[in-house]
């Protein structure tokens, strides 16, 4: 397992995340896409930290912070989805488009 493998995987994850965010017709799926993106980043940090600067663990610290923030974000996101559901009776992102122009 060299660095490249990790990078490729993270790249794939990132792309999948973006793809999900763009195409899913359900807010939850979008949230999952976002999580994919964030995790690909974390993976990057960890991998770089492991291979580039073995003696310095700052990369891994960043990854941990990333996970924390991702969690926080997920919480807020879910709360907002609830609100959306309350107001719109649906969580299809394309139905939430009263603000436009």
């Amino acid at each position: 397992m060299t660095l490249q493998h990790y990078l490729v995987i993270s790249a794939i994850l990132f792309t999948l995340g973006i793809f999900a965010v763009l195409t899913r017709r359900n807010a939850i799926s979008i949230l999952m896409g976002i999580e994919l993106i964030l995790n690909s980043c974390n993976l990057n940090f960890a991998a770089f930290s492991r291979f580039m600067t073995p003696e310095d663990i700052s990369g891994q610290i960043i990854a941990i912070f990333g996970i924390v923030l991702a969690a926080a974000e997920a919480a807020v996101f879910l709360a907002i989805i609830l609100a959306i559901y309350r107001e719109f009776g649906s969580i299809r992102p394309d139905e939430v488009d009263t603000l436009k122009g």
Partner: protein, 496 residues
């Protein structure tokens, strides 16, 4: 300079700490106070701002007169630049709190959280203005983002507000995710999170060919995605009109001024410290990229603003356009350019907040956010109308208002670097902008409402606050102090 250890840093960090303390205090007070109508909470938050301001200034003048100090092992840096933005941000926050006091759309039950979040978001922006480490940058960014999502969606039982929050967070999450990916690449290439070292490292690696300029380009573009989303620059601007329209007006005002300023602070520090080295710029000509982005941004913002009917939305687009103007200063790599940005931000703070304040007042009195709601305002509330006129023409950049002087030094800086096309685009844009600003003025002054409506009376406090914005909007340009202040503040930004 040698980074201070965590313990030594705490004193220098006192403003931020104060903010945290006050945030918690606000929540506690809110729990204590039973009376829903009491404004004690807001006033406490206001006091918090003032104390923080005092602390900021105290630290600035007591410790080394703003000599750069690196805190927490190089996580954040305390210098004139950050101090400048801290003052700016505190002013914005205080103003927002005052707006919120007068705004009638906010839910009385949630005051405590509201003001607490305002203080927290300020904290996040402080960090944005002073962070010098990738990790800190990311944390700061996320702090600001998360709180602002909540604030945007703060109006429960208001679908528009919820929708704004939804779009905001979706967009924001993706953008910050993208940025984080870019950061990870940078970290990987440079092998360090310290912004001050990244630049040098990357330059060396480029020279030695260990890093391909493509990777660097991708990384920079991804970072730009995150920052561009904060300062709402094309093509990362599309969230802002919807969010600004849906969010509570005070929050809209706050976002349009404070988070834009913080975004610029971050942008300047990041790009000038991180990517400022000449070798790097030969590999990736990001200034030129930004020049194009800024031209697009102001053009799109102005043109899209033309047909708007909702004043909040119109101002949203106008603030996009102003983001474009400001970005011009960022592509010049000269201290004049940065100084121009800072000066313009000061001016922009007053005129834009003022404009939004009038929007709040009108929304309260006439219950309308559309241009038609402003018809005949000159006869119903002349002073307010005149104030709004001042703000709008200042935004257009017409002498003798401060907005003109802001544009003036901005364009001087741009022309000095020979970016004639960019200056021309900017100036023509400001001509276009006159048209939609004037539509509001027209509604207020030129179209007299057929039915002779009675005059609306406002409290003296309202006028006092209004004048707080009007007077600077008229006089800033004529005073030397502001120019010198903004020029000093850029001294710490490294220039190649």
């Amino acid at each position: 300079m040698q980074p201070l250890s965590n313990i030594d840093s705490l004193l220098h960090f006192s403003p931020e700490i104060l903010l945290v303390i006050f945030a918690t205090a606000v929540i506690i007070l809110d729990l204590i106070v039973k009376n829903r109508e009491s404004v004690a909470v807001a006033h406490l938050a206001l006091v918090g701002c003032l104390c923080t301001l005092a602390a900021v200034l105290f630290i600035h003048f007591s410790f080394g007169k703003g000599e750069p100090v690196s805190l927490f092992l190089g996580m954040i840096q305390l210098d004139v630049f950050s101090t400048f933005f801290k003052v700016l941000l505190l002013l914005a926050t205080a103003a927002t709190i005052l707006f919120s006091l007068r705004s009638e759309e906010l839910d009385a039950k949630l005051k405590g959280e509201y003001y607490a979040l305002l203080l927290v978001i300020t904290l996040g922006m402080f960090l944005m203005a002073s962070a010098t480490n990738l990790l800190m940058i990311f944390i700061a960014l996320e702090t600001v983002s998360l709180t602002s999502y909540i604030l945007a969606g703060f109006l429960t039982h208001n679908p528009r507000s919820s929708e704004a929050a939804f779009k905001y967070i979706t967009y924001g999450a993706v953008a910050s995710g993208t940025m984080l990916f870019g950061l990870s690449l940078l970290f990987g290439m440079a092998g360090t999170g310290d912004l001050t070292q990244i630049g040098g490292r990357l330059a060396e690696l480029l020279a030695s060919g260990e890093v391909s300029s493509l990777t660097l380009l991708i990384a920079i573009t991804f970072v730009l995605a995150g920052i561009g989303y904060k300062i709402a620059s094309v093509p990362f601007h599309m969230w802002s009109p919807d969010v600004y329209e849906g969010a509570p007006i005070p929050i809209t005002a706050f976002l349009s001024v404070a988070s834009k300023s913080a975004g610029f602070a971050l942008f300047i520090r990041f790009f000038y410290t991180g990517f400022g080295s000449t070798g790097l710029m030969e590999a990736v000509d990001w200034p030129f990229m930004l020049a194009i982005v800024s031209a697009l941004t102001m053009t799109v913002g102005n043109l899209a603003a033309l047909p708007q009917q909702n004043v909040k939305r119109l101002l949203a687009y106008s603030s996009i356009a102003h983001g474009g103007y400001l970005l011009m200063g960022g592509v010049l790599l000269t201290s004049e350019g940065i100084g121009a940005i800072l000066f313009y931000l000061v001016v922009y703070l007053f005129m834009n907040l003022g404009a939004f304040y009038v929007v709040v007042l009108v929304a309260n009195e006439m219950g309308s956010e559309t241009i038609n709601g402003y018809r005949g305002l000159s006869s119903r509330a002349p002073l307010v109308a005149v104030a709004m006129m001042t703000f709008l023409f200042s935004l257009t950049g017409i002498p003798p208002f401060a907005g003109f002087f802001g544009k003036w030094i901005l364009f001087t800086a741009v022309l000095e670097q020979g970016y004639y096309w960019l200056a021309l685009v900017g100036l023509l844009n400001s001509v276009v902008s006159l048209y939609y600003y004037a539509r509001i003025v027209k509604a207020m002054f030129l179209e007299d409402t057929s039915e002779e409506t009675d005059r609306v009376s406002f409290s003296t406090g309202t006028f006092a606050l209004l004048s707080v914005f009007v007077i600077p909007t008229v006089f800033i340009g004529f005073l030397n102090i502001f120019y010198t202040f903004s020029n000093i503040s850029v001294s710490v930004i490294p220039m190649q």
